[in-house]
Symmetry: C2
Subunit: 449 residues, 2 copies
C-alpha cells in the first residue's frame, strides 16, 4: 500500500528557526530554558496531530565565534533527551525525536537513554543519529579537530549496530513478573550481545527491557553516500535538506533504491525534508512577516551562521557584497557545504545575500506565501515522490507554529493530505513503517549465553 497522507514533524529549535526569530514579538525568547514554554508548544503540536516533535543537538556551542553566540538564542538550551523525557510525562500521543551524536558518546549509554525514553513515553521515542561536525564540539572531548568524514561514518555504522543489538538483547514479553515462582523475567529472556568490533567492545545485555516499540525509531540526517547507505539500512525517517524539486526527487529515489539492497520495503522509510514556512493570509502579508524577521538579523550573526554552514571557514576577510569565495572541501558537514555553494551559484548570491537567504531555513526549503501556496508546494513534492512528509521549521515559536496550524493544516486536511486524529499510540504507528530487521548480534560478534 502506498502512503497517501503526509507525515509531519514539529521541529523545535528554540526559539524558532529564523536566526533572529527570538527578537520578534511572536517568539517566547526564553523558551530554550523554560520547560513551560516547551510544554505549551508540544501540546499545541499534539493537539494538531503532528507525528512528532524533533529536536536537534550539538555537543557544544558550535559557533567558535563567541561574540556571535552572544547574539543568538541557540547558545543556551536544554539537552534534548532530558527535555523530551520531561515532555513524555505531559503528552500522550506525539512522537519524541531527539538528536544524539555518535561521535562523543558510548553506544551502551545511548541505547539505554533512548530505551528509557521509549518506556517513559509508552513507545514514542526516536533517535536522530548524527555525527558531530565542528571543531568547536570536538574541543569539548579532547580533540583539536573533528574526525574525518569517513572515520566518523565508520564509527557511526558500528555504533548503530551496537545500539540495535543492545535493544534486541531482551525479547518481547521477557518481563513476566511472576511473584509466585520468583521469576521476574523469562528464563533466557535476555542475553549478552558480546559485540567485538573495531571501535567498540560491548558485552551487554542492556539493563532495561525491550521497549514498547521493540526498538525506538531511528532517524538520520546525513545526505552523503555513506550517510544514505546507513539510512537505507537502519532508518525509518530521513531528515534532509533539498532545494529544487528535481534534487528532491533524485535524492528520494536514490535513497529508496538503496533500501532494496538491505531487504527493506520503500514505505518503511519516510523522507521528511525540512520546510521553513512563513504563512500569511495574503502573499503580501507573508512577505511582510518575513521581511520583519530579516530586518532583525545582526550582520555578525548572519556571517557566523554562514561560516558554520560552509564548514567553519573564516569569511571575515571577504567583501560581504562580493561573490562567495572558493573554499576547500569541509571535513564537517559535507552535504551542507555543497548545498550552500549550489544555492549561491544557482541564484547568483553575494556573501551577504547568501546569509540573508539561509537565515531562516539554513538551507532547507523556505516558502513565504499563502496557505494554498505552501500546501501546493508540499503536495507537489509529495506527489512527485520527493518527500513522504516534512519536518516543519517554524520561524518563531510559538508564533510560526500557530500560523502553520491555523492556516496551513486546514488546507492540507481539505486536500485529504493530513490526519485529523491519531490512529495509533506509538511513533511507529503514526509513521506506518516497519523497523529494520532485528540485529540479533552485531557483525563479527559471536553470541553466547
Amino acid at each position: 500500500m502506498t502512503q497517501d497522507t503526509l507525515r509531519l514533524g514539529a521541529f523545535f529549535y528554540a526559539t524558532g528557526h529564523h536566526v533572529a526569530g527570538w527578537r520578534h514579538p511572536s517568539s517566547e525568547a526564553d523558551g530554550g530554558l523554560n520547560l513551560e514554554r516547551y510544554v505549551g508548544w508540544a501540546r499545541r503540536a499534539e493537539e494538531a496531530k503532528f507525528d512528532l516533535v524533533f529536536l536537534e543537538d550539538g555537543t557544544g556551542i558550535r559557533d567558535s565565534n563567541l561574540r556571535s553566540s552572544e547574539r543568538t538564542a541557540r547558545s543556551a538550551h536544554f539537552e534534548p533527551v532530558t527535555l523530551l523525557s520531561a515532555l513524555a510525562a505531559v503528552t500522550s500521543r506525539i512522537g519524541l525525536v531527539a538528536t544524539t551524536s555518535t561521535s562523543f558518546n558510548e553506544p551502551y549509554n545511548v541505547a539505554r537513554r533512548f530505551a528509557s525514553l521509549d518506556h517513559l513515553s509508552g513507545g514514542r521515542a526516536g533517535w536522530n543519529l548524527v555525527t558531530s561536525t565542528t571543531d568547536a564540539e570536538a574541543a569539548n572531548f579532547g580533540n583539536d579537530q573533528i574526525a574525518r568524514h569517513t572515520d566518523r561514518y565508520e564509527r557511526a555504522e558500528e555504533f548503530v549496530d551496537v545500539v540495535l543489538g543492545l535493544w534486541n538483547t531482551w525479547d518481547d514479553g521477557a518481563v513476566i513478573i511472576d511473584r509466585a515462582s520468583g521469576q521476574f523475567s523469562k528464563q533466557d529472556g535476555f542475553r549478552p550481545l558480546n559485540h567485538r568490533g573495531k571501535h567498540f567492545e560491548v558485552r551487554g545485555p542492556l539493563n532495561i527491557s525491550r521497549t514498547p516499540q521493540g526498538q525506538p525509531v531511528l532517524v538520520q540526517a546525513g545526505s552523503s553516500g555513506p550517510g544514505k547507505d546507513l539510512a537505507a539500512r537502519t532508518a525509518e525517517i530521513v531528515f534532509t535538506a533539498n532545494q529544487t524539486l528535481a534534487e528532491a526527487v533524485e535524492f528520494y529515489g536514490d535513497l529508496k533504491e538503496r533500501m532494496a539492497r538491505f531487504g527493506r520495503a520503500r514505505d518503511d522509510l519516510k523522507v521528511m525534508p525540512g520546510l521553513f514556512p512563513v504563512v500569511g493570509r495574503t502573499e503580501a502579508e507573508a512577505r511582510a512577516k518575513f521581511e520583519a524577521l530579516q530586518d532583525l538579523i545582526d550582520p555578525v550573526v548572519g556571517l557566523a551562521l554562514l561560516e558554520r554552514m560552509v564548514g567553519g571557514f573564516d569569511l571575515s576577510g571577504h567583501d560581504p557584497d562580493g561573490p562567495v569565495p572558493e573554499l576547500p572541501e569541509a571535513e564537517g558537514a559535507k552535504s551542507r557545504q555543497q548545498l550552500m555553494f549550489d544555492l549561491a551559484r544557482r541564484e547568483g548570491l553575494t556573501l551577504r545575500q547568501l546569509y540573508l537567504r539561509i537565515a531562516g531555513a539554513r538551507g532547507h526549503s523556505q516558502i513565504v506565501g499563502t496557505p494554498a501556496q505552501i500546501a501546493d508546494e508540499m503536495e507537489e513534492r509529495f506527489r512527485a515522490k520527493g518527500a513522504d512528509g516534512f519536518n516543519i521549521m517554524p520561524a518563531t515559536l510559538p508564533g510560526g507554529l500557530d500560523d502553520f496550524i491555523a492556516l496551513v493544516l486546514p488546507e492540507l486536511r481539505r486536500r485529504g493530505l493530513f490526519r485529523s486524529e491519531y490512529e495509533g499510540r506509538t511513533l511507529r504507528d503514526h509513521l506506518g513503517s516497519r523497523p529494520p530487521a532485528r540485529v540479533a548480534s552485531a557483525p563479527a560478534s559471536p553470541t553466547q549465553a
Copy 2:
C-alpha cells in the same frame, strides 16, 4: 547555626529495596518500567515534604550471574536522569538526585545533562557522583576489568573539577534577552574553560546557561579515604552506610574535619546514611512484615547479591552454612566489601545468614520496629552527630514508603525533627547548605576568552 531538623531522602530502588520486595503484595512490581508508578511515589514523597528523591544507577546489569538477574526486579529499569527529567515535569518542590558514573561518561555530557535537569526542575537537581565498581559494567565499555580503585578516583577528581568548571562557564544573569539591541546574553557572560588535565581536555563553554541553583547539588557515596576527601571538597550530601553508632559518629566527624582543609563549613555537607525501615504499629507486626519478605528470598538471588557486595567473587563453592571465607581485597567497592566482613564478624554470621541479613538494606542500617523505635534510633544518631538525616530505603514501593510516611513521619514531627512544609523552592534551599567555592577554571588550565 547548627542544623536542628533532619534531612530525608526517598531512595527509590524499583520496586523496593528488599531483594524479594517485588514479590510482596505491597509492591508495584512493574514500577521499574512504569512512569505512572514513579509519578505516584514521587508525589507521595513530595506531599510528605521529603528533601529529595534519590536514584542509584549502574551502567549495566551488575550481577554477572544472569540466572540470578532473571529473578530480581533490578535487571530492567529506567535510566535515572531521563526518569527524573520526566518527574521534574509533574512535581514542583522535591529535590531530584540521580546517580551517574564518572567511569564511562564524558564530563561535558554529564555537566550538560544535570544542568538541563536543574533548569527543567527549577533548581532541584542533584548529581550523585560514583565510580563504577563491577567488571560486568566495564565490559559494556570495552574493558575486561574495572579500573583500579586509585585510578577511578583520580579520574573522578578531575571529572568533578571539569563539571564544576563547566557549570561556571556562564555567569549568573548572563542571559538578558534584549530584543531591542539583539544581545541575547551579556557580553562576556560566558567563556571557555580551557581545561587541560591528565584525563580530559575540555574547551567549553557549556551550551546551557548557569542553572537555577548556580550549580546542581553534588552528592557522593564513597567512604574510602580518597572518596571522603573528594566529598569533603565538593559534596553537599554524602550518602553512606554505617552499622554501629560509634562507626557512624567516627565517620561523620572525620568527614566534617576534612572539610576545613578545603575551606568549607561543616553544615554545608549533610551526611545522610541509608536507612532501611520496616515499620509496624507493634514490634511483632513489624517483625512479621519483615519475615514475610525474608521468606520470599530465592537462595540463588541471595547468594548472587552477596557475591556482588564482597567484590564479585564466586561464592558458589563454599558451604552456605559455613563461615564467610577469607577473600582478596576488592578492586570494586572497597568500603562495601569491608562493611560485609565487619558485619559477618561482629554478628558471627554464616554465608546464608549474611545474605539474609543484607537482603533488605544491603549493608545499610536496618530497623525493624515501631515508629517510636525507629524515631529513637534516628534521633539518637542525629543528636550524637552521626548523621544530618537519612536516605530512606523502603522495603517495598509504595507499601514501605506509605508505612514510613503514615507511621514514622508523624512521630518525627512530634519531636520537632522534621519539617511540615517546604520553606524554599530549590534542593539547596531544603538542605540549607552552601555550594563549594566556585571552580572558575580547573587546576592547571589557563582561562582565556
